[in-house]
Amino acid sequence: MATETFYYDNKIVRNFAIATVIWGIVGMLVGIIIALKLIFPEFLGGIAELSYGRLRPLHTNAVIFAFAGNAIFLGVYYSLQRLCKARMWSDTFSKINFWGWQAIIVSAALTLPFGITQSKEYAELEWPIAIAIAVVWVVFGVNMIMTIYKRRVKHMYVAIWFYIATFVTVAVLHIFNNLVLPYSFLGSYSVYAGVQDALVQWWYGHNAVAFFLTTPFLGIMYYFIPKAANRPIYSYRLSIVHFWALIFIYIWAGPHHLLYTALPGWAQSLGVVFSVMLIAPSWGGMINGLFTLRGAWDRVRKDPVLKFMVVGVTAYGMATFEGPMMSFKNVNAITHYTDYVIAHVHTAALLWNGGLTFAMLYFIVPRIFNTEIHSLKLANFHFWAATLGTVLYVIPIYWGGITQSLMWKEFTDEGTLMYPNFMETVTHLIPMYAARAIGGTLYFVGVLAGMFNLFSTMKKGTLTADEKAEANRAEFASDTSKGSSFHRWLESKPTQFTTLVVIAILVGGLVEFIPTQLVKSNVPTIESVRPYTPLELVGRDIYIAEGCVGCHSQMIRPFRSETERYGDYSKAGEFVYDRPFLWGSKRTGPDLHRVGGKYPDSWHYMHFMDSRSTSPGSIMPAYPWFQTRKIDLELVPAKIRTLQRLGVPYRDGYDEVAVDELREQAMGIAQGLQDSGFDADWDSHMVAVIAYLQRLGTDIKAQPQAGTNTTTAQPAASR
């Protein structure tokens, strides 16, 4: 039988390695900038494109899709070729995957700071970029699947199972969450509204964590831990059980991002229980990773690859225990909307995703450059900076998150809010934000050291662009492994395997969506809720572009501490015209769902020009450009027509009079502001945003409701 000789493509691996490191630096630097903005709101102030609300999605997108994304490709392109004993199926596809992905990242950096966004978290990129993502992702998937088909090893190793699940699920998630109807080249409205949009978004958002930041990294763990430790995988059976359990259960858990919101109770309960059931499948991965190191722990002390792996896998175990705990409704009532969640995700992101990525880089780079690591000492420094940096990052904001929550909820002995002024809860947190920025900077310094170390290693060695390998295809046919089990058979059948994965990941989503979409009782209609006026709609689009949702929720939960502060709790029927929904996930500032009518227009004007003039201590940036930038009136008719097509009941021909109505409403607001001595043009962003804010949450007040406690209609609150 002839032994075949072939060559692994290391050049593509090298390219992804460089991209991972560079984008990691960029994404984390943006993170440090926005962390500083929370302490020094004037830092880089006055520049619209660098405001907090616009940079925050740039940070999340850069670290998730640019840093972790390139790391996934790095891991897959390196390990898949070796696990399949085959070169990647198509060098062209590899190149399209690489350059296409980098182009998408650049286009993200060129749109998000300019306020071009769909607003849904981690799915902010507007529809043309979303389409490009889908195309490049499919190119990646085809390249991967075809490589699997022409493999020279009969069975697919567990890492490949995770890669397949990653490809399939991310494709499904991305496509369904990005279904929008465009009104212009870079503008669109979600096909889902309100509650449905929230459900789809968090099905996506949660599973972006699951299938972009978890499953591919588990695959990476399954390849690189045994390779680096030179030990066999602890338990094949555990691999099987935790793999299928993980991908089946994960997809259901999205609603835990929406507990105590207007999402129907049954969907919330599914989110709770499937999150709790996730503990074991997640820990299965951790156990299999850590137990594989049995007998090799002495090497963990010396080898930075294993060190990063062990801390990463341990952080994964902590985060996947903490996540289900935060999904219990009574815990969620405390942690949700607070910085606790930010601490939770950074434990996982910095150590699990970051740790595994750097472990992989320290493993791969010396190998493909056929040399030793430039400096073991520097790699150890990187490890300690990463670990301590993360600890210093998360502890202050875990603390801060709990503090924030307790302050929101505290009542005096007389039964009124202890901190009716939201500002007190903000100013109290600033020292913790400062400590967090120090921790983050330490982590960043470690990454800079890592970059220097890796690039020096590359310089020292020579890239083996095409690495020679040999395999005997005959073993493929004659491999009669004793596994006569069904699963062993399945591991040799990529088509059947992938089909089963698709089924496993679709069930949960379908069970949750179909009833929410079709059963009317899930979103009870409220008669008095009407579509936004054209001016309010434009104001809403500005609110979206500015990323206000990054700090302000629009979802008052049914807690006494919230209805006292903000007014009546939010009802599902109030959001039927919200495309996209803007419930938010973090309250650095107060909830705004019932801000309408609470302050005079002039208050908002002053607050936007200088938030500290009306709210001393505020860390909200100033928006001086609201005064100078003009509304694009030409887009208004197209926006109205697009919404009509989506079912919003504007009367026929309304698009033709929309601009006139907009002008009339805007003139009224502008006149009022001018009477108060403020300089406001009717067609400025300022007027539109104020119109939107003054509308928020007011429709329901027009509705006479029997049995409603009248005192809750008057919010007793704050800013």
């Binding site: 070796r82 696990l83 069975h155 190793y157 045994p226 390779k227 030179n230 030990r231 066999p232 602890y234 338990s235 094949y236 059976r237 555990l238 059980v241 359990a245 105590y260 109770g265 309960s269 599914l270 229980v273 499937f274 503990i279 074991a280 820990w283 299965g284 156990i287 049995r294 010396p366 056929n370 005096t412 007389e414 039964g415 009716p420 002024n421 500002m423 007190e424 020579t462 083996t464 004793k482 049914p558 006494r560 209805t563 609470k598 302050y599 002039s602 208050w603 003039s613 009306t614 001393p616 201590g617 001595g677 406690n709 005192t711 809750t712 008057q714 919010p715 007793a716 704050s718 800013r719």
Partner: protein, 210 residues
């Protein structure tokens, strides 16, 4: 291309003595697999969470025994109403018209503390020195809703929600003594001529005649 490799990735796996029987004949790029049983604590933990989930869904959703979030909220509101006497404004025991403007330093300091406290939010609209921001200047002789002690106390207490000032300025509720101190402090500022005083709205203001 150099055939000399610094990293030998094809060293045989380290297999411990007690593992030899567990080694499967799986091999992927040098990675082998053991056939260890799933740890029982892990497996039974998994079963436990599944059982817990079934009970949870039965309790809260299928059988509807546990309260849903709106019922929870209503219970919370009832409990608060029982404890604090609801949201009703406590009956005033004092006739404001009978009160005199307080002049003593102690009361005025107390009034000032209330005015400046972040709990009461006066400053956010009327300014640190009552010079007026979004809300009117409180230091001149021009008033919209009456400049006597009683009128000011009532204005603070009930607010003017239609014009942007919620009751107590959306801050904490004040008792009659605090209200008295605050209004006296505001009166004491009259004529203080702070910097940046907001010009009066002559269409609605009335000269104070006390």
């Amino acid at each position: 291309m150099s055939d000399k490799k610094i990293h030998d990735d094809n060293k045989p796996n380290v297999i411990l003595d007690d593992e030899r029987d567990l080694l499967l004949d799986h091999e992927y790029d040098g990675i082998q697999e053991l056939d260890n049983a799933m740890p029982p604590w892990w497996l039974y933990g998994f079963y436990f969470t599944i059982a817990l989930s079934v009970v949870y869904l039965l309790y809260y959703d299928v059988l509807g025994i546990g309260p849903n979030q709106i019922e929870e909220y209503e219970q919370e509101m009832v409990a608060a109403a029982e404890r604090f006497g609801g949201n009703e404004e406590p009956e005033s025991t004092v006739n404001y018209a009978d009160l005199e403007v307080l002049m003593d330093a102690e009361s005025l300091t107390a009034g000032r503390q209330i005015y400046e406290s972040p709990r009461n939010l006066c400053t956010t609209c009327h300014g640190q020195n009552a010079q007026g921001l979004v809300g009117p200047n409180l230091t001149n002789n021009l008033w919209k809703h009456g400049c006597d002690l009683e009128s000011i106390m009532i204005s603070i207490k009930s607010g003017f929600p239609q014009r942007g000032m919620p009751a107590y300025g959306s801050g904490q509720r004040l008792d009659d003594v605090q209200l008295h101190q605050l209004a006296s402090y505001i009166i004491s500022l009259r004529g203080s001529n702070p910097d940046g005083a907001r010009p009066p709205d002559m269409s609605r203001s009335v000269e104070c005649e006390i």
